[in-house]
């Protein structure tokens, strides 16, 4: 089933802050679901992501880890992060697929000043359009998950686009397609939530008391959700406990900007009013 992309919000427009619900299509709202308890860290998704999106291979070096890159880069939109922790007496090797979560309330989009550089579609995908990107990197600041990466070479910011071209053609994203253990699933948000709940139930039966679904409300939920076995140790998965679409300084900024717009207006009106009331004060009249 092909999907028609309907824009829900775009950056640098009035709709950035007030979602145009009227535009919401009847098409499904998608979500990826990453069941961390099924992930074996094979990095198949990492490679599939690069292949499909034609991202350059980068020179890497082992830095004392199974992890390929230290961090996401403009050419690495998906990174498997490895972390060894102890839970009680048991060693756990946490392996987490790090990539854009495609927030329902996208902090990157809210922060972006460039019209059309960031677009959210009604199906949940938040896409960066590099041709409209001005390279200010406000989106990097706006993202609660530290996902977008700036390229000094292209002077633009990139991140996972959920293989939007595949989705539009009715296919699942490349990482989902390639995952050998079905740790990554793809479907409607509703179906994925149901699947996630079931996975959490299974985990609890297996003794993971704190298993949880990661679909944080602070960003309105995400379109890549995680099933997290140790839900009480989110930081060990490098998942923020309470992410917000707009951190306090940005909320204040947005508020101030509205006031500022009026103040600028008033100042011009004020000057005109002063002129009309008192006129010019020429030295001549005092002679």
């Amino acid at each position: 089933m092909a999907d028609t992309l309907t824009i829900k919000r775009t950056s640098g427009s009035a709709s950035a802050f007030i979602p145009m619900d009227a535009l919401r299509s009847s098409g499904p709202e998608y979500s990826k679901l990453v069941d961390i308890s099924r992930c074996i860290g094979c990095k198949g998704c990492e490679v599939a992501c690069k292949e499909w999106n034609e991202l350059q291979s980068e020179p890497t070096a082992n830095f004392g880890s199974y992890q390929s890159h230290k961090d996401l880069t403009p050419n690495t939109w998906l990174l498997m992060r490895f972390n060894e922790i102890e839970v009680g007496e048991n060693l756990q090797w946490l392996i987490k697929k790090d990539a854009c979560l495609h927030c329902e309330e996208p902090g990157c989009l809210y922060a972006c000043p460039a019209p059309g550089a960031i677009v959210q579609y009604t199906n949940g995908i938040v896409d960066f359009n590099q041709e409209n990107c001005i390279g200010c990197q406000y989106c990097v600041t706006g993202c609660p998950f530290d996902i977008p990466r700036y390229s000094a070479r292209t002077k633009t910011v990139s991140k996972c686009n959920m293989c939007i071209d595949r989705v539009e053609a009715g296919l699942e994203p490349a990482c989902v397609k390639t995952c050998p253990t079905n740790a990554i699933s793809w479907g409607s948000k509703r179906d994925m939530l149901a699947k996630a709940d079931k996975a959490v139930e299974t985990l609890k039966q297996r003794g993971f008391q704190h298993a949880t679904v990661y679909d944080p409300s602070g960003v309105g939920g995400t379109h890549m959700m995680y099933v997290v076995p140790h839900g009480d140790r989110l930081a060990d998965y490098s998942l923020p406990t309470d992410p917000t679409a707009s951190p306090a300084p940005l909320t204040a900024l947005n508020f101030l900007k509205r006031i500022g717009a009026y103040l600028f207006g008033f100042s011009l009106v004020g000057a005109l009013g002063h002129l009309l009331a008192f006129g010019q004060e020429s030295p001549d009249e005092h002679e």
């Binding site: 200010c136 990097v140 500022g260 717009a261 000057a271 002129l275 020429s282 030295p283 002679e287």
Partner: protein
């Protein structure tokens, strides 16, 4: 009218002022374009959003240097004194053209001095937060720090911008004869007597009384 004109600003001062002025306006306009999507078209004169993003910090750097120079040139005239306090207390008479109730000002009145200091302080804020926003990748993922920098940068814009409106209004429309001091550096004696009586007296050796 046949009296000779008074020299108020030398060439260097005028150049520095206009470097600051032009960069300030360019920065304000591009900044407003970044802050207000409906004004994004303001980036067009600089070659569009991406180019504006590239140029804005360079212009800012030039602004910073010019501001520094301006500080060196003018600082000794800008210290506030007791008379300035009295002047400030009477500012409403100044605004309503009731000159007789305004204490005589020197080369700069208290408002101008205040404008100087406010813009000076804001310049520090602009430059400091601007450098952070110029190279955010060096600080990432310092989300709170960078967001706060954005907030401060904007707050400075708001403050500085409003002052600029006032500055331009007063310097051009409200008080004819003022603007030429930044063009050819000269003012008329009448203008000087009206706006800066004590400075007029210093320059001419005359007093009104």
């Amino acid at each position: 009218m046949s009296e000779p004109l008074l020299h108020r600003f030398n060439l260097l001062e005028r150049i520095v002022h206009w470097v600051v002025g032009v960069t300030y306006v360019a920065l304000l306009l591009t900044g407003l374009a970044f802050a207000y999507p409906p004004l994004f078209w303001l980036t067009a004169p600089l070659g569009g959003g991406a180019m504006a993003r590239v140029l804005h910090p360079y212009i800012g750097a030039l602004f910073g240097v010019a501001m520094l120079l301006m500080l060196v040139l003018w600082i000794r005239d800008m210290f506030l004194n007791r008379q300035d306090v009295q002047w400030m207390a009477a500012v409403r008479y100044y605004a309503t053209h009731q000159r007789d109730k305004v204490p005589p000002a020197g080369k700069y009145n208290a408002g101008q001095k205040l404008f100087f200091w406010v813009q000076g302080v804001l310049a520090v804020v602009f430059v400091a937060t601007g450098v952070m926003l110029w190279f955010p990748e060096q600080l990432a993922p310092a989300r709170t720090l960078l967001s706060s920098a954005r907030l401060l940068h904007y707050t400075a814009t708001l403050g500085g911008g409003l002052f600029l409106v006032l500055h331009v209004y007063l310097g051009t429309v409200a008080y004819p004869g003022t603007a030429r001091s930044m063009i050819d550096g000269k003012v008329t004696r009448q203008w000087a007597r009206l706006h800066h009586p004590r400075w007029h007296a210093e320059q001419t050796g005359l007093t009104d009384t």
